[in-house]
């Protein structure tokens, strides 16, 4: 029906014209709307402490300790379960977080503004690999590292960004997509560009040389640092779509380690969830599917925008995660055009003869063709704090899209839009 097509056209205009820009940094408490000391934000759709999986619980415990609300894990766990702590999805506070995605009030965050729509999105800084909070680790070393990020890394980056001024992240990603990044599981190019852009500004900050060196070493040692920029950039680009009436475009896909959840434009803030899957991927030596936690993290916001798995063709480096040839990667991307509405005007994929990445997931197409979005993702160990055990490809449960479609038709009926 025409009005649906028109609505989707509107949604796609918003996505295509998005202008995600890094405008600075701040502390969650002061920047994220509704943030307070007893609020813990997490990845994925809403969830209670009881239902949380290992890594998410671990991250909450670590977060509470970092926040100073508990002095040891036992205390933290008690507090977490006490009902005194409020939990909410990052997504419901204009934020996103990789893996467990835990954000507490004192954490520094990047501030992304979508200049074309004037909306904002927030994300913490990426901690790097190894024992890290986002995989549910909460031992002292983890908290220590978080404190270093807050006390040393944050002030320097914040000041550097003030010196540098607004940074066009869309432009950054558009370049890196042509340099072999899909901006989800491969971020090497983006991170390199980011360091290059910011280098002189960092040197201009009034901070000690040692600290500056530490900062550069840290950024250089962490290929995924800018994942925490491409995620909020995608979030900022998509968020306004959530207000487009009658549109069947998906504007959120995320996982909390227990459930997968999507949100669809016409259905606003309603979540459509189903059990998150165990990922059939490439496991690091010594690990197997038995060790894996079900799918977790907000990072699938990049796929929602048409990057990540949707742009797999451009990132040969991660083709091994799909256990295949570069032809397979091309086929993945080709297939994603079947369920999307347009080709991106900004993110062009060289191996696809510079076709724009598949953009604007339409729930009607997903249900009709039974082709589910393909997501590149890291795999967390099911036990808190063990860390990443592999990476691979995962699909959202079809149920999410079927329920959404059903709700959408019901909505149109209420509005008398269907005969």
């Amino acid at each position: 029906m025409q009005f649906i097509e028109d609505a989707n056209k509107k949604a796609l205009e918003i996505i295509q014209n998005a202008q995600p820009t890094l405008v600075g940094m701040g502390v969650a408490r002061d920047t994220i709307p509704g943030m307070h000391d007893k609020l813990v934000l997490h990845a994925g759709p809403p969830i209670t402490w009881e239902k949380m999986s290992g890594p998410l619980r671990g991250a909450v415990i670590g977060g509470l300790i970092y926040q100073g609300l508990a002095s040891n894990p036992e205390e933290a766990e008690k507090l977490a379960a006490s009902g005194e702590i409020e939990y909410a999805p990052c997504h419901e506070h204009n934020a996103v977080g990789p893996m467990a995605g835990v954000v507490t009030a004192s954490m520094p965050v990047f501030i992304i503004e979508n200049k074309s729509q004037g909306n904002f999105a927030y994300c913490t800084m990426n901690e790097g690999l190894g024992k890290v909070l986002r995989f549910g680790a909460y031992e002292p070393s983890v908290i220590k590292h978080l404190n270093w990020m807050e006390k040393t890394l944050y002030p320097i980056l914040k000041e550097a960004l003030e010196i540098y001024g607004p940074m066009d992240i869309k432009n950054l990603m558009a370049q890196s997509v042509q340099m072999g990044d899909e901006c989800h599981n491969r971020n090497k190019a983006t991170t390199s560009l980011f360091i290059r852009e910011l280098a002189s500004s960092i040197l201009q900050t009034n901070s000690s040389k040692e600290d500056q060196i530490k900062v550069f070493d840290f950024l250089n040692s962490n290929d995924h640092f800018t994942l925490n920029l491409s995620m909020p950039a995608a979030k900022a680009s998509l968020e306004p779509v959530g207000k487009v009436k009658d549109s069947t475009i998906v504007y959120t896909m995320c996982r909390n380690g227990t459930e997968f959840g999507i949100r669809v434009a016409a259905l606003g803030n309603r979540w459509f969830t189903a059990p998150a899957e165990i990922i059939d991927g490439l496991y690091f030596p010594g690990y197997s599917m038995e060790d894996a936690n079900p799918d977790i993290g907000d990072s699938s916001i990049t796929e929602t925008l048409g990057l990540g798995g949707f742009s797999m063709a451009t990132a040969p480096a991660i083709v091994q995660f799909v256990g295949g040839t570069s032809q397979d990667a091309v086929n993945y991307t080709t297939q994603m055009y079947e369920i999307t509405t347009e080709e991106s005007g900004s993110y062009k994929l060289p191996p696809m003869n510079f076709r724009g990445s598949p953009t604007g997931i339409d729930i009607r197409k997903v249900v009709d063709t039974q082709i589910r979005p393909v997501i590149n993702t890291g795999i967390a160990h099911k036990d808190a704090g063990v860390g990443q055990v592999g990476a691979g490809v995962v699909n959202p449960p079809m149920k999410c899209f079927e329920d959404a479609l059903e709700a959408y038709v019901a909505l149109l009926e209420e509005e008398g839009m269907l005969e």
Partner: protein, 515 residues
């Protein structure tokens, strides 16, 4: 030489396990084979048979092992492994690299300028897809059946409006711009244009014309229901008009079962309008009205082909109801055949895979003999009325009632194989079969018939049958006409140049043997 292979955690059910050992044991030069799970006792057995080799050191109870003692000069380990894997690896490997889109829309994006949709999905969905295709200005060939006749009418009306082909539903044969679609033979391109409502009838005409040295401009299928009252011959008329206007086409051939009266009239009206010669085989249809329309009626599919060929060559077409071989030779064949038969051998068994070919056989033989069939000449000859097979039988095995969910016998010979089992016995005198080659058909239909014959002979012991066959195919078909003929003749069949001649010969033999 002793060797062993171990498949770690390679499970397979015992049925397969036994198969493996038997298969491998069969190989020439293999003395002993042990297959089993790597339990202590199984390994003890291997040891006591002096077949233990280092490969087996690390085997656990959940590993499968195969140990063999064999003569190197006769067989290699590779042979063993091959035989082993043949049974073990049942996994299907994934298809080719080229992208296979999920929908018609996206297929059209991936194949620029596509102009034909060949559709063989379940009938309930076929109409909707054909509808989409026609809207996109694609021609359609629909092999699917069980499509509602209202849908067929709607689709064909749309096609006629847009000047497109809507071949089918249930259309199995067409050759468009020289490309054989679904079930069609490889024939040279030429000046004959054909519109056919019957698949194997069309195939028979095209292959005979090809064998006589001529070829086809276009071969258009319509589907069996096109000439019914309801559809009104929309596609046949559309096809005739196109062939009339087609510069490549000099002679037009129409083949179908007798149309509904009203449709027949329309077609004759149209035929009168063209100065191109038109050959019409409405199998068993009324010859006079065809003549009145200024067209050439036919005695058989072969006759249609011969007339078309003559007309293309500017010769006066003469009706043909004889044999290529001379009378003396035919008489000799008949004599030999009759001599072969024992007194208990009384009955004809016609086991056909081609519908129109069956039709032709029954129409001809039914005149002089009581032929029972699932498509009988008269109701009283319905196969259901025949008690314990005491009579002449000629069946179209392509009908659903026989295939029982299996693919059509032209694709999968099993149905006919079964009927050889159940219908050929001591009382069988003559076996009449068709062998249809070409794209779409089974890789070696002649071979399948030969096999069934061998089995049947073994069953009846002392006696032999008279086997008459015809092959609908060309020297350029994937199965190769000559190879197929050779296979059949080696199996003791009399192979005739056409179904019509095969049927005629059978008639002669039946009369001579007073069956």
């Amino acid at each position: 030489m002793i060797k062993a292979i171990v498949k770690e955690n390679a499970y397979n059910d015992s049925v397969t396990l036994m198969l493996i050992s038997r298969e491998v044991q069969k190989l020439d030069g293999v003395e002993n084979v042990l297959v089993g799970m790597g339990t202590e006792l199984n390994l003890d057995l291997v040891k006591t048979m002096d077949m233990f080799v280092p490969e087996l050191e690390a085997v656990t109870p959940n590993d499968l092992f195969i140990a063999a003692r064999y003569d190197e000069s006769k067989v290699t380990m590779d042979d063993l492994v091959a035989a082993f894997n043949e049974e073990m690896n049942k996994k299907k490997e994934s298809g080719s690299g080229d992208y296979q889109p999920p929908t018609l829309d996206s297929a059209l994006k991936h194949l620029q300028g596509a102009n034909m949709l060949v559709i063989s999905i379940p009938g309930e969905y076929a109409a909707a897809e054909a509808d989409k295709a026609l809207r996109e200005d694609l021609n359609v060939m629909m092999f699917s059946d069980n499509v509602k006749i209202e849908d067929e009418l709607r689709l064909k009306k749309m096609a006629v409006e847009k000047g497109l082909l809507m071949m089918g539903p249930d259309c199995g044969t067409a050759i468009i711009n020289g490309v054989p679609l679904c079930f069609a033979n490889v024939v040279r391109r030429g000046k004959i244009g054909l519109v056919g409502a019957s698949g194997t009838g069309t195939q028979e005409i095209t292959v005979i014309a090809h064998q006589l040295g001529e070829g086809f401009s276009q071969v258009i299928g319509t589907g069996g229901r096109d000439l019914s009252e309801t559809i009104g011959g929309l596609m046949m008329i559309q096809g005739i008009e196109a062939l009339m206007a087609d510069p490549e086409t000099e002679v037009i051939v129409l083949v179908s079962k007798p149309p509904a009266a009203s449709v027949e009239k329309k077609i004759y009206e149209l035929v009168k309008k063209t100065d191109k010669p038109v050959v019409i085989d409405f199998i068993g249809g009324d010859a006079e009205s065809i003549k009145e329309a200024g067209a050439y009626p036919c005695l058989s599919l072969e006759d249609a082909a011969r007339k078309a060929v003559a007309l293309v060559r500017g010769e006066e077409p003469v009706s043909f109801d004889a044999f290529d071989a001379d009378e003396a030779e035919i008489n000799q064949i008949v004599e030999q055949a009759v001599g072969k038969l024992k007194s208990e051998q009384k009955y004809l068994r016609g086991l056909y895979t081609g519908g129109t070919l069956t039709d032709e056989a029954i129409k001809y033989l039914g005149e002089n003999h009581a032929i029972y069939s699932n498509i009988p000449l008269t109701a009283d000859r319905n196969i259901k009325l025949l008690e314990n097979k005491q009579g002449h039988i000629c069946l179209d095995l392509g009908e659903d009632q026989f295939t029982r969910g299996r693919p059509h016998p032209m694709i999968d010979p099993q149905t006919r194989t079964d009927f050889f089992e159940s219908h050929i016995d001591e009382t069988t005198a003559i076996i009449l079969v068709d062998v249809v080659l070409g794209y779409g058909s089974y890789v070696d239909p002649a071979g399948a018939v030969a096999e069934s014959l061998a089995k049947a002979r073994a069953r009846v012991g002392d006696r032999d049958f008279v086997v008459v066959a015809s092959v609908t195919g060309t020297d350029q078909d994937p199965q190769d006409l000559n190879k197929s003929i050779e296979t059949l003749e080696n199996a003791g069949a009399i192979v005739m140049p056409s179904n019509a001649q095969a049927v005629r010969l059978v008639d002669r033999i039946m009369k001579a043997a007073a069956l």
